[in-house]
């Protein structure tokens, strides 16, 4: 076990990011999104949206625009080469759109291990807001492999 249980409850530095139209179009291209709602301003406005909508999983990556986004893990002694994404959850409160400035407030909510420490699990919960308005809550489980402990068993 690398990560101490005392890490639970650690509040990480908040960060703020501007949702950019160009970045949303780039994301749509990367995932093969063909629905013009996500890339064409006229289509989005005709659908009643103020601007291009932020698709369901985009906030996860936008959070990583913060400086040194994996620093909280390396500070805990985690070797990033052995990190896997275990699970990811989004709870949605309101859609976000291009032009919005959103704030991320992450917190380590749980740390545990399995298989005698060969697998460590870090749970990060992040509240996303636009001003005072809740946009979404993200919960991610990060799995840290320890191959040396795995092979010792």
């Amino acid at each position: 076990m690398t990560v101490p249980a005392t890490a639970v409850g650690t509040v990480l530095a908040p960060s703020t990011a501007l949702v950019e139209r160009g970045r949303l179009r780039f994301f749509a291209e990367a995932i093969g999104e063909a629905d013009a709602l996500y890339t064409d301003l006229g289509t989005a406005r005709a659908a009643g949206y103020p601007d291009l909508p932020v698709p369901p999983t985009f906030l996860f990556g936008l959070k990583l625009d913060a400086p040194d986004p994996f620093g909280w893990m390396t500070d805990l002694g985690v070797d990033m080469r052995f990190v896997l994404h275990g699970s990811q959850r989004f709870e949605y409160h309101a859609l976000a759109f291009a032009g919005d400035e959103v704030t991320f407030r992450p917190r380590i909510s749980d740390v545990y291990d399995k298989r005698g420490g060969a697998l460590e699990f870090l749970v990060l919960e992040t509240a996303v807001t636009r001003g005072d308005e809740p946009i979404a809550n993200l919960t991610e489980t990060i799995v840290v492999r320890h191959p040396e402990l795995e092979s010792a068993r």
Binding site: T57, G61, K63, L64, S87, Q88, R89, Y92
Partner: protein
Amino acid sequence: MIELQELAVGTELPALTLAPISRTTLALFAGASGDHNPIHLDTDVAASAGLDDVFAQGMLSMAYLGRLLTDWVPQERIRSYEVRFAAITPVHAAPTCTGRVVAVADGLATLELAVTLADGTVTLTGGAVVAID
């Protein structure tokens, strides 16, 4: 988009089959998503971790599954969406996204979701709750 009145337990979402994932897609997704972890991009880093090759970002498959959802209902109806990453997705794998309604109650439909590769490997399992009233 589905007519929401027609929706019932057992309703299947139209499946979404993707082309094989290229290294270009991995690079574009890293830049567009903001996840620059080199384990998905750099074979030298993959080799130093004892892996034969890079593998796709889990969030790429979750984004594909998100397309399955937003092709089916307007996005503002999605209340929650979650997945478990069950297996890694090798480069060149071709994922298929599927979903079906498993419960309807109180104006909400609960969906069961999966991503499966051509060889049968289930890479993601998950669920979503969608407002239908």
